[in-house]
């Protein structure tokens, strides 16, 4: 018998007021920004200052989010902790690397080095909880969070009674912004986030965020949503190939394109990248309500974790916020298809149902 995957709870720290409140907040309108940064909690309220003395911003956000997610699910210690991050703890990487040069390799502080490894967040969560279970970290661009979720689903298939904590996160530092800006990834002029997806332009709006999920194989009313399927594909030839993947994904889940209530798209404001979505939808025969999320969280390797948080919350409440919907908001939503791609190379699909 196939084990099903349910999202029991979720917690997110993002450029929106997503942390601490239950549900979807009033979304911020950022009127003139070059990038989006997280609205951070007061860490002292959640973390012991002594225990968190070495933690970077990203690690603090990760641990806070994870602990809050577990609290909401009523789980003390999960059976597995699985994370995904595209660039890992880049702030500490920069700090240590910088010191190598400025101090000419002499008398270097070890703390940023040990904190720079990509699995630092997963390890910090395990340390905080004394969780001895399976612990993994994936770091592969737009597949980082997806692999974490795939592994989590595999865990549940192997151990249906387990509780798996899975999360995705990435941070933006001023150096990483400067470097990626030079690489031509971003808009060169400040944007208004609520107009981002309508004002055609070259480049996306960079962002950052953390989102954690407690996944279980047990059905129940306390669950937010069921994760029916997830699929990734790499370097498709074009819109038609993407459409074929989309259609195949929907049919493999036992549905027709007409059964999908809402498609949550990873539109990011980059006109050529965004064109791929409409081509794919057309080829897949998907003519349904559309929504977007990157005008709220920005573009980063694990942005789909924000999309998953948002979709789970939408399915829990049944309502699509007007700032998320592209077009008139649909009446009721019983399922959501998330489709995201990172610069045309890493494509990810999720199917969730209420």
């Amino acid at each position: 018998m196939l084990t099903e995957t349910y999202i029991r709870s979720t917690a997110a720290i993002s450029p929106q007021k997503t942390f601490g409140n239950d549900g979807i907040p009033e979304f911020e309108e950022y009127t003139e920004v070059n990038y989006l940064k997280c609205i951070e909690p007061v860490y002292r309220d959640f973390l012991d200052p002594m225990a968190s003395r070495r933690m970077s911003r990203l690690v603090k956000m990760g641990v806070c989010s994870a602990l809050h997610c577990l609290k909401k699910a009523g789980i003390d210690i999960p059976d597995a902790i699985i994370t995904g991050t595209g660039l890992g703890c880049i702030e500490d990487t920069e700090k240590f690397l910088g010191s190598v040069f400025t101090q000419e390799e002499k008398l270097l502080n070890p703390t940023p080095f040990i904190q720079s490894t990509h699995n630092t967040v997963a390890a910090a969560i395990a340390l905080a909880l004394k969780c001895y279970g399976y612990n993994a970290t994936y770091t592969h661009r737009g597949f980082s969070f997806e692999t974490a979720m795939a592994d989590a689903m595999l865990q549940l298939a192997e151990n249906p009674a387990s509780n798996v904590l899975a999360g995705g996160f990435d941070e933006l530092t001023s150096n990483s912004y400067a470097i990626t800006r030079r690489l031509g990834l971003w808009r060169t002029h400040p944007v208004n986030t609520l107009r981002l997806l309508y004002d055609a332009g070259k480049g996306a709006l960079p962002g950052e965020g953390v989102a954690f999920f407690l996944l279980t194989g047990k059905p129940g009313n306390e669950n937010m949503a069921r994760l029916d399927a997830m699929h990734t594909f790499y370097n498709p030839a074009g819109g038609a190939a993407c459409g074929k993947q989309l259609e195949g994904f929907i049919r493999k889940a036992g549905l027709e394109p007409g059964d999908i209530n809402l498609v949550m798209l990873g539109l990011n404001g980059d006109v050529s990248g965004d064109a791929l979505y409409s081509e794919a939808l057309r080829h897949a025969g998907l003519r349904t309500n559309l929504a977007a999320f990157k005008h709220l969280c920005g573009e980063y390797d694990t942005a789909t974790s924000f999309a998953l948080w948002l979709s789970a919350e939408i399915l829990r409440t049944g309502a699509v916020p007007s700032q998320v919907s592209m077009g008139p908001a649909p009446g009721s939503v019983k399922n959501i298809l998330i489709y995201n791609h990172l610069r045309g190379h890493n494509h990810a699909l999720y199917l969730l149902s209420a």
């Binding site: 002292r44 200052p49 002594m50 003395r53 070495r54 008398l107 270097l108 502080n109 070890p110 703390t111 040990i114």
Partner: protein
């Protein structure tokens, strides 16, 4: 000596990012490791870097290091004995 101890406390707080502590809350005679402040091996490395960077002092063996880093006072005495503070 007392001035050196006060200065050291500030430096320890800064280097180890003990943001919730004030110099007054650190007992200079209390152990720094295991009990007392409860510092660990990474903190020890950071303190070794501090002693060399700020005071130009290198620790010898690991056992010697353990004695010197026992408390704020023993650290101050080590600095004073080597005419560096």
């Amino acid at each position: 000596m007392e001035q050196l101890i006060a200065q050291l406390k500030h430096e320890i707080i800064e280097v180890l990012n003990l943001t919730e502590l004030t110099p007054d809350s650190i007992d200079e005679n209390a152990p720094l490791f295991v009990e007392g402040l409860g510092l660990d091996s990474i903190d020890a490395l950071e303190l070794i870097v501090l002693l060399e960077k700020k005071y130009g002092l290198k620790l010898g063996t690991a056992d010697e290091g353990k004695k010197i880093l026992y408390s704020v006072r023993t650290m101050a005495e080590f600095i004073r004995n080597n005419n560096k503070g």
